[in-house]
Symmetry: D2
Subunit: 287 residues, 4 copies
């Protein structure tokens, strides 16, 4: 017998699987059997990877247990990878920063004032300059210094925090330190970085100086998942800003801050709303 | 018994109906029963109008007759308004122009070189200056002069052409003549106009002169369905271009041509790909 | 005898006058006589208004007194309106807010981290919710409640603050109160407002609700000088953001915050860098 | 004695030289002595290269000879590199194409309808498919086949055409052939290429396939001067277009055509209006 609550919950279900007929019908059937009313849904079949992706928002009075049981029963037939969550539930997020404040300020502000569905459970920094800002926004601040000798120790501290605080998402908000391959692997798909260039242009250090030297007419920023392969992780969002010859490198840096925080905020929002699905080196973004 | 062809067809089905549980399941079920494999699908429920919208692309070996029969059987249960077409089939299109060439040139060029799925069955103009361009692109040209006295006659000629040529879409590509209310009603949902302003700014005549006088920093264009209410039809697409103080009215006109043709081309493409659904005064665009 | 300092100062000189031959030569000559080296300069003659506009950045060891004396001697010949300032000097700015935090946060953050050349000497609000944010950024906060009966009194308080604090620029950062005609006139050319629509679309109240009802595909914001004629002051900057059918009014409000703060920040920067000159109802922006 | 015509000519003068005080004054003085009225002017000093750049539009009744004589007399004092032209004079342009029509169509259309100040004196192609389009626009078409063995011969033919036709600008409008180093050097500063990527991303072959594989969220195009160093010439203009996961490589190619022609048309316009000055590997664009 199926237990239900009196009030419907707004669920978001995402899934991917090898593409084959009948998936949508099976999933829609499962949801209909649980009194679900689909409010928003998107599907996409990638002809290159042969994978099918689906994101569906549905209101239903069914319990989580009932839905999970039903999905688990369906999963083997289609070889589903899936995720079920309450729509709009704030994702527990840890932000790593160094000394640049713009991304932290932007995420914290949007969380507070623009309904960005994250819960900032910790700010971790190898410096202390952003502690007052974290305090102002009520985000617990952890100073974890990093030197060549203490890097392993610092990463262990980070992993401990991730575990203790049930962190679901780590955001590298201009953290400026390279994570070890091992850490990248352990947190794969859970770490978003903002790179201050329009990747794959200007990989590596000092991208704005490179952009200035090359005389580009647009500068950009790229939000991507972090993988072991530096600056090569799946891209979630990119944006650009027009510049001209009169801009010095430091102007590009200041202008770039705007593009960086915009691209990062969108990537974090889409991730937190379960709109981003991985398709090999690429992302599916159901906006 | 269901007849099928040996090779699957790529269908596109769009529908709208009052929002209610079970629609997606029912439609996905219908498609699954006909061996359909969904390649792309989007749904949206509008909380304001209470309507549900769906667009699905599906490959299936079922015949058109079988699909139509099945959809017709389903329609009353959900009060469906629906449309079934072969994906990518060129839509029979009549373009109305006056003397400005940029929109005609753009649509004809994109039809030929960028896979815009329209079939330009006629160009109708109250002038003859664009006849050589129509000839170059192989579009039959019809000169239908319009004066105050012959307006009714000219519209009758247009309607006759629409009927004779099985026209599915009429594009007002800077036609500069106002259609009668009666004609608008007869062709409702089948006529797309490009308005040379960012509506609802600068309705009426000489929008670029108005924009210049007001000192705006962006100029725009709006592609919309034509209704009896001038400049008030449902908007399909809008775009803008940055301008500055140094631009004279004639510069805005030239710059505006670019925005106009871009916005119009997108609107025509989305309409021809059955991505635009009407939701009262607004449009749903499943891009 | 001309006194000079040992180190050159970076000056910015702006001027406007009736257009006539010889202006640039005369100004450049004046600057050359004072050992000036022009680093950036722009001129524009408006054929409509018949006015000529010039902005020049110049390094010179001449004193302010010497430069002013020379410009004053030249001014009558060309009927010059002019302004001389040290380039990059922070402009003394008073921000008026109500309860929406995004514009205040953005301006204060950019002042601190992105070199926005303003000095936030006061935040004035008819509410107290933004007092902690003002405190965090070290901006003196003044609570000036406004009711129908106390409006005159509140405006007198504002004017007193403007005088006491040598305020050069007042920014209405989503202040939501209409200033009296008298106040507008007194502070003409010194007050920048951010309007939450792409003017002249959606003047008046609740522009996002109007935009939603009209089904526009881009929403915008407009930063403009305040004049007695509400929503009709000279436009400094506008920007837009793409939206689609799935966005509810509250989504437009949240998305709009981003456009609003971006357009406002640019307008404030250009004003503070003396890049904006008035040309009747329009602005010249020497970016 | 100075000869003047009865009607003033609108001149455009561009110059660059080592940065030093007095340049603007000297140039403005020279123009004033010839009755010049400056209508538009921009200056920029590049602190990196130490060069100063100026573009000035001026109306004057002085003859070309008189102006040239005066400029030649001034040039040694400041080590000027300069160019004087009649504003708006169409620049004699040769377009090289292969089989893709969009850039040729766009340039020819804008020349005819949007006041692009070029005179299309020849279209050169290694194929014949675009001959009818060249004919339609009245552009003399030259079929110059290129094979590995005939490349030197083909380039000689091109150079001969450039000479015979007094060609001032060569546009590689998706020509798809690499010019020899020698040719690049001979025509340095006179050849504009449109590259179908957002350089420096995706240099080399098949940039859209590379962009698709990398999963970028914006595709772009770059118009640049051609130098011996392939894809490394000074950038004049860049633009981008948003794409998403659902776009196949062929969609990117079609979408990219729009960005390519837009970026190329702007670069050609700015070059033809003498708004682009070379500053080492970078360009100054006085828009």
């Amino acid at each position: 017998m199926s237990h239900t609550s009196d009030f419907p919950t707004h669920w978001v279900l995402t899934l991917s699987c090898p593409d084959r007929p009948g998936i949508v019908h099976a999933v829609a059937g499962l949801l209909a059997e649980h009194g679900g009313n689909i409010t928003e849904s998107q599907q996409f079949g990638d002809p290159d990877s042969g994978l099918f992706f689906m994101r569906v928002q549905v209101t239903s009075t069914a319990t989580r247990t009932d839905l999970v049981t039903a999905i688990e029963a369906l999963a083997p037939r289609f070889d589903l990878r899936w995720h079920l969550d309450v729509a709009g539930r704030p994702v527990r997020t840890l932000v790593m920063v160094s000394t640049a404040a713009h991304c932290l300020n932007d995420l914290a502000f949007r969380q507070r004032s623009e309904g960005l569905p994250i819960d900032l459970v910790a700010a971790v920094s190898n410096h202390t300059v952003l502690e007052p800002m974290a305090d102002f926004y009520g985000v617990p601040f952890h100073h974890v210094p990093v030197t060549k000798d203490t890097k392993a120790q610092a990463e262990a501290r980070l992993l401990a925090l991730v575990e203790e605080l049930d962190v679901e998402l780590v955001v590298l908000a201009r953290y400026m330190q390279i994570l070890s391959d091992d850490l990248c692997r352990r947190l794969e798909g859970k770490v978003i970085n903002i790179h201050h260039s329009f990747l794959p242009s200007f990989k590596g250090a000092r991208p704005y100086a490179q952009a200035h030297a090359r005389g580009v007419k647009l500068i950009g920023a790229t939000a991507h998942y972090v993988t072991g392969d530096l600056d090569e992780g799946p891209i979630i969002e990119q944006d650009v800003e027009r510049v001209d010859h009169s801009r010095a490198v430091e102007d590009l840096v200041a202008l770039g801050q705007d593009v960086e925080r915009r691209a990062l905020a969108r990537a974090v929002r889409w991730h937190a709303e379960h709109r981003v699905l991985l398709d090999g080196r690429r992302t599916i973004v159901f906006r």
